[in-house]
Amino acid sequence: MALSIQEVQHVALLARLNLRKDEEEKYAEQLGSILQYADKLNELDTEGVEPLDHILPVFNVFREDKVNPGPAREEILANAPLVEEGQYKVPKII
């Protein structure tokens, strides 16, 4: 199940990856073989098997609605490349 170059380009765009032409070809082949491997699952007969949304048989895990303040702002912002007025500074977004 080979992946088309268009599909690779689409996924690259969604992931904001800038691929060279030779990379596109390489990933088409590599991703294709991974998908092909996963496609093996389709060979199984899943008649009467309920779809699984979560791998653990656990439901309704909650926390109480109580406020517990997080770390100081400086600590949270410590890893940001650029900070201004207590906020993350990012390239202009409109």
Binding site: H10, L13, L14, R16, D53, H54, I55, L56, V58, F59, N60, V61, F62, R63, E64, D65, K66, V67, N68, P69, G70, P71, R73, I76, L77, L82, E84, E85, G86, Q87, Y88, K89, V90, P91, K92, I93, I94
Partner: protein, 482 residues
């Protein structure tokens, strides 16, 4: 507007649920804090952090669903919606895709005396994103600033069926939705603070056509008024485009308040591909019928029930009862008054008249009003006792509104008390009669108009404080003694 085209509108409404803490972490859910002071590794999207669902959020979602006549799912789950944007630190939003917590509900609206039922497709839970602040003007700025206080605030997204046929109906839907959510007590629904937000899907089609026209999604509708104007503009724009032979393209448009137009935000050549998949960090929910029943039992009286009660118990008109049940604060004020005063119609008249007038003048909410229900009732009793006239009461009421003092205090301070003491009035009236022999003579010569003049003189002498019916009575007694 062209008569050949029918407008079709569906609304997507985001409501912030008024929990104490955020949906997946323990940060405070308060509005208006300093940037990035209600943040933690979870809502800032640090690697390896795990979300845990706030139980109150589920309670509120069930409550909202019941208020909107929805089916409450017995099983639902969360999904990841993937996209890149600087206000979304994880690069995915935790939302609900194919199994929302509420579906297939409705609410009833009334426009031009016509009742109409509007379908609600679904309501699902999700987390809010952060806020982007642009420096300077949009064209001159080089950077944007990110505040993550809002990131992780619990949202319920309520999606209507495309059942609305005019901007007016859309507004009625929003007002009704807001009223129901306020009564359910799940959100403070303040459009100006963004706790109630609305996007409108608008399309037009020739009358009689079954198939829906291509729609535009309009964002940035920050008030009921903006929503109405934006929809009206968009409908005009689409009809003109079609009549000019242009094709409507599916796109997102923003309402520009200053220019009063909708503007295309971006073309959708790359269709959104959110690659939803089940959120592995959150186990699914099983909502037992006992849970739903418990919430149902805890529901307060909703506006429709309250409206019927007011009409039955106090003989109010449907119009008055509608207005009094618009928000829980209004109803609570009215109900508060009826604890001490039986005449609901009089209470309603004062609330709809003077109180509303003053609230509007001061751009205030009834919850901020200094007059308590008990204080209004005390004033109404003073009118009944004849201590102040209905006319004077309006001035007293205004002073109460401004100072928060009670009526008794105000009439004392301002010397406004109505004179209902027969002896005192008798003396004043006698004085007026003695001073105006000409008018008295006119009266006896059959000029009944002279009475009016004499009453006026009494009122002037008492600075308008004389009890008018008593003045009339005593005056005619005295005049006829002669």
């Amino acid at each position: 507007m062209s008569k050949e085209f029918e407008t079709v509108i569906g609304l997507e409404v985001h409501v912030e649920l008024k929990t104490s803490s955020k949906i997946f972490c323990s940060c405070s859910n308060e509005f208006g804090a300093k940037p990035n002071t209600n943040v933690c590794p979870i809502c800032s999207g640090f690697p390896g952090m795990l979300p845990v669902l706030n139980e109150q959020v589920v309670d509120y979602a069930i409550k909202s669903g019941l208020a909107l006549n929805c089916e409450i799912a017995d099983y639902c789950k969360f999904d990841r919606k993937n996209y890149f944007y600087p206000d979304l630190p994880k690069a995915y939003q935790i939302s609900q895709y194919d199994l929302p917590i509420c579906k297939t509900g409705y609410l009833d609206i009334e426009v031009n005396n016509e009742k109409k039922r509007i379908g609600i497709t679904r309501a699902h839970l999700e987390e809010d994103a952060g806020k982007l602040v642009h420096q300077g003007t949009i064209s001159s700025t080089t950077f944007s600033l990110v505040d993550l206080n809002r990131s992780g605030v619990p949202l319920l997204e309520i999606v209507s069926e495309p059942d609305l046929r005019s901007a007016q109906e859309a507004r009625a839907y929003m007002e009704k939705l807001r009223s129901l959510l306020l009564f359910a007590g799940v959100s403070d629904c303040k459009m100006e603070e963004g706790s109630l937000r609305c996007d409108a899907n608008v399309s037009v089609r020739p009358y009689g056509q079954e198939e829906l026209g291509t729609r535009a999604e309009i964002k940035n509708l920050n008030s009921f008024k903006a929503m109405e104007k934006a929809i009206e503009y968009e409908v005009r724009r689409q009809i003109e485009a079609i009549e000019d032979g242009e094709e409507i393209i599916q796109e997102t448009r923003t309402w520009e308040e200053e220019r009063q137009i909708t503007r295309s935000m971006r073309s959708k050549e790359e269709a959104h591909d959110y690659r939803y998949f089940p959120e592995p960090d959150l186990p699914p929910l099983r909502i037992s019928r006992e849970w739903v029943e418990r919430i149902l039992q805890s529901m307060p009286e909703m506006p429709e029930k309250a409206r019927e009660r007011l009409m039955k118990a106090y003989g109010l008109s449907e119009y008055d009862a509608n207005l009094l049940t618009l928000t829980p604060d209004y109803l609570a004020f009215f109900d508060g008054c009826t604890l001490y005063y039986k005449d609901g119609k009089t209470i309603s008249n004062w609330m709809m008249g003077e109180l509303n007038k003053l609230l509007n003048q001061h751009n205030m909410d009834i919850a901020e009003c200094k007059i308590t229900p008990a204080a209004l009732v005390d004033m109404l009793k003073l009118i009944d006792e004849g201590r102040i006239s209905g006319k004077m009461a309006k001035d007293v009421f205004e002073a109460m509104f401004e100072t928060g003092a009670d009526a008794e205090q105000i009439i004392k301070e301002k010397g406004m008390e109505q004179i209902s003491d027969e002896a005192a009035l008798g003396a004043i009236i006698q004085e007026v009669i003695d001073k105006n022999p000409g008018a008295v003579e006119d009266y006896h010569n059959g000029k009944k108009k002279a009475t009016g003049y004499l009453v006026g003189q009494v009122m002037q002498a008492t600075r308008g404080q004389a009890n008018p019916s008593l003045v009339n009575k005593i005056l005619s007694q005295k005049l006829n003694q002669k």
